[in-house]
Symmetry: C2
Subunit: 494 residues, 2 copies
């Protein structure tokens, strides 16, 4: 073995243990949201901080710099591994160890405080903690940015290569078409029925499991639990999902489940050769979201798949007031200004994201004080959605993200929608009889296409590049908007 | 601050993070037995090995030696902290890092292989793994023992201060009285009815939760789940328990639960000042077991408590064929040679342990080959219990311990019984009206006595010393044997 190869092997062996420890930290996070007894919250904060200290020490270990200087990539895969390691090394070294540990400790505690504040609708209970999280995140952002923009530095953690300017420009192009579509829909004389009635928790969870199976979720390498805010967690051979149940709104449970299955299938679909390496994780949040959103929306909310799903619901819940598959399709896709992002229809969803994007940029810049956030949220919501926020749990307390310190994360949801639009266009071109499969509740032809084109590559290509290769064209917002206009023009007879 | 105090503070700060990481590793173990999808087993092995590597590096960090050389204890508590740290440091440095990691990886995998072999009654599927575990444990034992005895070195990890000779002598004194009692019982014309019928899983779990509550389990700092082999896990403010359900044998579920509650209450009862320090853990497995066994047996299987429990069972399961509280007491305490240690009555229990103690000493010495273990087990079982083992799951595959590498652990179960006997004698002397409380399902007066005398001290005193202080006399097997002879002479009218 040459010295260069030795350096590469040593680096990868070291990295493998770091990846394993990162999986452990992730599992702790899962536990905290699903299983942990409440009285353990403070102790868990120390445990998370200790893990974060270990991970930070490994990620900034000077030996990485020495190995990187010597290691030579033998092929494309090795080159991608080194690119990921170098990028993470450069970023992490900029964050002081005590700041990393303090962030881990504070955000671990903050999640419990947020959940409590949200349950009690008490913004004031969350503000001191949020203030502290933002103070620490601004420190982190400035440290990461060096001479660049602090918010861009945070964004880059979730979506390498993206900038707030490129996203703001994309949002500027999307907004007029979405607003026009929204206005036409709200003015339409056609208005699909809203689902009503009561759907028992057990029945919902059974169908949620059936849906996960239909989308190819590998139960041997995952599990489904309940959480306040649905999420997926873990890579490699342990990618778990959570959902939530509201007995008057089963779609919340079903589509949250399909969404998280999309995330988990991405992780589970990555080439097994990349296990516990930098390539063994989804390449960015935007690409991750493209998988969850195409599972949830372009497939899960299609006319063909909802036709099958309608039969499943009738089998389980009897006559629930929507007897016709076309009417069910319209009900599933009913557009209405709502408070909650995760429950939003496809037309409103990106408007929710744009609002958070602007607010969190202002928080990080320091242009918006935390004490003014609720008013800013509520003003903006009324302006964009034409409705007043009725309670904090429906407003600024709805999302877990800020309590976790995930600033710069929200815009990746819209990037994911845009990528999902592109992938869907390419998928339809490649699989003309897709609807025949979906109509039988079989998603395999679509999920295998996605596994082959996107998922198996893990971190091999840069985010936009993996989408470009999968689609055969440079991704932009056009296909998503075309799809939305076509779909809702038909449903609402615009 | 003097240099000595600085050294102590630095050492304790370092140790606190190590304790937090150890809690994380423990939680991973809990997850593996309760929640982990099966397909994650191999990856989990790497994750556990990485955690073990981190813990081993910290526990052998040369700075500990430097701090220990400088640190001076300001009081009894600090002296005990230093004693624990010094002892652990000396022990851990003797184990090479690669051996520690390999043990973590192999035992993590071995547990899944054992569970599968046990489910399929296939000894052969487990033997290669067990051979490897024993090979590694013998390496570890020799490294730990230096010039001493390898098995003693393993034992010392679970019961500081105990030796196989002292335990063998104690077993030699116990065996004749236990055998005589067993023979008298089996020859008695009085034979309590065996519980029969079917007890639904949901009803069992509800009563198990009620029993945990009755014994003061703090649900805010713990939770109950199902596992193949019941266990408790975690210290400080997160001490979880597991149980199992067999629909024809509800006592298995109920007394496993009470047993694990005893373990968990010990951890939860430790002085909060010791959180995430060496004193913040139960001091030894023997003392741990004394708590679980006195909860389970001397309290949980007493005439007074079973009288209350009988009413709870009638309320939940209706007429289940045992209508009288005295008969129920006799049924709960029914003595019968059975295959399974964890289901054994109080008379047979220590005979199960003695057998494992002899077999595992022979395995570690190398006097017994793994391929001969099943025959040795079955021969010994027939000799001691007068019954032939009918299937491996009822024989050498029944316990998880050896798959985890827990050699030297079994005798602590009997030490725990002996300590429980001593504590029970002292408790009865201090609380003459104990049965009045237990008869109402109230254990508080006993559990608070135990918390005050034993649990709150955590690791402050050496194992035998904490029992001696709690009881006011030097512990030996006498009180346990007196209690067993008294109890069963009455039930069986000997």
């Amino acid at each position: 073995m040459t010295a260069n190869n030795t350096a590469y092997a040593d680096l990868m062996a070291f990295q493998r243990q770091t990846e394993a420890l990162a999986q452990v930290a992730g599992r702790l996070g899962w536990d905290q949201e699903t299983m942990m007894p409440r009285g353990a919250a403070e102790q868990r904060g120390e445990e998370m901080a200790a893990m974060e200290g270990i991970l930070h020490a490994r990620r900034t270990d000077p030996r990485i710099g020495e190995w990187l200087a010597l290691a030579k990539a033998a092929d494309e895969v090795a080159a991608a591994q080194l690119r990921h390691i170098r990028r993470a090394y450069d970023r992490t070294r900029r964050i002081p160890a005590d700041l990393a540990q303090e962030l881990a400790r504070v955000t671990s505690l903050a999640q419990g405080i947020w959940a409590e504040a949200r349950a009690n609708d008490r913004v004031a209970d969350f503000l001191p903690t949020l203030t502290e999280v933002i103070r620490l995140k601004r420190h982190e952002a400035v440290a990461l940015a060096e001479d660049g923009d602090p918010y861009d530095a945070l964004l880059d953690d979730y979506e390498p290569g993206a900038t707030q300017d490129s996203i703001a420009e994309m949002f500027d192009r999307m907004r007029p078409r979405l607003v026009k579509l929204r206005e036409a829909i709200l003015a339409s004389s056609v208005q699909p029925a809203k689902l009503s009635g009561h759907f028992g928790t057990e029945g919902q969870l059974r169908l949620a499991r059936r849906l996960a199976t239909a989308f190819g979720y590998d139960w041997n390498r995952g599990r489904l639990d309940l959480a306040v805010h649905p999420f997926s967690s873990g890579s490699g051979n342990d990618a778990r999902i959570t959902t939530r149940v509201m007995e008057t709104d089963p779609f919340n449970c079903f589509y949250s489940t399909i969404h998280e299955v999309g995330h988990a299938c991405y992780e589970l679909g990555i080439d097994g050769d990349y296990l516990l390496t930098p390539l063994g994780n989804g390449v960015s949040m935007g690409v991750h979201e493209s998988q969850s959103r195409i599972y949830e929306n372009q497939i899960g909310r299609s006319r063909a798949f909802t036709g099958w799903m309608h039969g499943e619901m009738v089998d389980r819940f009897g006559d629930f007031g929507v007897t016709d598959a076309d009417a069910f399709y319209a009900t599933v896709n009913r557009v209405q200004p709502g408070y909650i992002r995760t429950e939003a229809d496809e037309v409103h969803y990106n408007l929710h994201v744009m609002m958070r994007f602007d607010l969190e940029r202002a928080l990080i810049r320091g242009d918006l004080a935390v004490r003014d956030l609720e008013a800013a949220w509520n003003d903006r919501f009324r302006a964009d959605f034409g409705v007043a926020v009725d309670r904090p749990a429906h407003g600024m307390l709805q999302d877990v993200h800020w309590s976790c310190g995930l600033f710069g994360y929200f815009p990746t949801y819209s990037l994911g929608n845009v990528y999902a639009g592109c992938l869907h266009k390419a998928l339809r071109a490649d699989v003309p009889d897709l609807d025949d499969h979906l109509g039988r509740g079989e998603t395999q032809v679509a999920t295998e296409w996605l596994r082959d084109r996107v998922q198996r590559h893990g971190g091999l290509y840069e985010p936009r590049e993996v989408i470009r290769r999968a689609c055969g064209f440079v991704p932009d917002e056009g296909p998503l908007l075309d799809y939305l206009e076509g779909k809702f023009t038909e449903i609402y007879r615009l």
